[in-house]
Amino acid sequence: MREVIKIDRLFFRYPDGRQALQDISLVVSYGESVGIIGPNGAGKSTLLLHMNGILQSNGLVRVFGMPIEGKNLKSIRSKVGLVFQDPNDQLFSPTVFDDVAFGPINLGLTEEEVRQRVAQALNWVGMAGYEQRSSHHLSLGEKKRIAIATVLSMNPEILVLDEPTSDLDPRSRWSLTELLKGLPMTKVIAAHDLEIVKALCQRTLLLDEGRIIANGPTEGILSNIPLLEAHGLAPPRGV
């Protein structure tokens, strides 16, 4: 199977001295859905930010075979769609339409194509008709969906999501899970909501204090209760 993301011995230290990632090596294959779980501060978000070059460090990070460096960034960012944890950071335009259109416009598409992509992306997240709404006035659940739409409109081949269901009520969590289930592309999902990881991911990595503690089939990791509890997690319902 084709390797879409390959990370080899990645170390990352924040400017304030905190060693956020230590010796991370992982491979994501085409079509896979990989979960990254761990307690707060484990380094999940930091790891995700390396996947489209927002953070760069030593160590080999390759996306579709291309190393993360200047000339490849444009191409990598059109293929890797990163959805942040806080939708407020991703909604920065006056209207929903402007936000969802931001990506396609940067890709240089024609007006016709941009409009089509926006309509399609909003349909996918179940928010058709919201084009002229102001992004600031939506509820959190709506904002999370729009944030996903802003990334989907670029037709990414890999979708990377940072805590997609945090702060959502149970109904929103279920519908978001269904939404993500219906998207065909390769997915990397960082969460401490283990339910969504159980529902969507075949393989899971457990991260704590910047290191990979475990890497294997989701079933195995999520049913290993001592392991989960040792790293600040609780098993999902039904296990």
């Binding site: 930010l49 489209n52 927002i54 444009k74 960012r77 059109s78 769609g81 990163l82 942040f84 806080d86 950071d89 991703q90 920065f92 006056p94 259109a101 931001f102 990506g103 416009i105 940067n106 890709l107 240089g108 007006e111 941009v114 102001s134 600031h136 802003t150 990334v151 670029m154």
Partner: protein, 257 residues
């Protein structure tokens, strides 16, 4: 958080709205230039300028009350400059006795007041016309295509975008403060406000960094892109030419009258 955008009425449809931003920028600049270099004694010229801007404002279908309210922003500046200058030495028009001093309002002084007032008013009206009938991103694109340095255009676009970030953060901090029953000694209050301002800067700065990361993740590379490309049509060329001719003719009238 309610945001009032600078280009609130930019999605109306009128002749002025449909003009290319470059045509509007050039003619606005020419208008302001003409207004500023005209000596204040040439009343007919100012009548001409006023007529011109009024016609354009009518054509733009902007709500008059809105235009008027925004134009009021120059009043403090005009008054500030005018108050000190009306006493300029010269031909006395009226005398006042304030306490021990006798101050005279002079003809020259009133002329300065008039000068500042009429030029500021005409300029602000033309700027309101420009900014309210043009979507901000299109305005920036127009500036970019008129060869304004890229750094300046980018600074303007970020200033516009991040004003709302700062307003949001300020509102959040204000709410937090109110919820904790802010009051007490003046010194304490001032100190707290000082800390809030510092905090506001830090929070806005960091939020700005995160927003930038989000923009960059979606392919932003520093270029200004707009949905529909600007096209300088014949109509724009006609409009610009007519406007420039009108301004020149007003100028010629001044010189030879």
């Amino acid at each position: 958080m309610e945001h009032s955008f600078i280009d609130r009425y930019s999605n109306l449809d009128s002749f002025i709205h449909r003009l290319d931003p470059r045509a509007k920028l050039i003619t606005t600049l020419a208008f302001i230039l003409a207004v500023v270099v005209t000596p204040p004694t040439k009343w007919p010229a100012f009548a001409g300028y006023f007529a011109l801007i009024s016609i354009l404002l009518l054509l733009s279908k902007l709500p008059p009350l809105y235009v008027f309210k925004r134009a009021l922003v120059i009043i403090p500046f005009v008054l500030l400059i005018g108050i000190f200058n009306i006493f300029k030495p010269g031909e006395v028009v009226a005398s006042l006795n304030i306490w021990h001093w006798q101050v005279s309002i002079t003809h020259e002084g009133l002329l300065v007041l008039w000068n500042v007032f009429i030029k500021a008013s005409l300029s602000i009206l033309s700027l309101i016309l420009l900014s309210s009938t043009t979507e901000f991103t299109h305005l920036l694109k127009g500036l970019e295509q008129l060869k304004m340095p890229k750094v300046m255009v980018m600074t303007l676009s970020f200033a516009y975008r991040y004003i709302f970030v700062i307003v949001d953060e300020a509102m959040r901090m204000w709410r937090a403060r109110e919820s904790r029953n802010f009051g007490g000694k003046r010194v304490w209050r001032i100190k707290t406000i000082g800390h809030m301002v510092g905090s506001l800067f830090l929070r806005s700065y960091e939020r700005g960094e995160r927003i930038y990361a989000a923009m960059v993740s979606r392919g932003y590379e520093g270029q200004i892109r707009v949905l529909s490309s600007l096209s300088f049509s014949q109509r724009d060329a006609y409009f610009s030419t007519i406007m420039l001719l009108l301004l020149i003719s007003i100028g010629l009238v001044i010189i030879f009258w």
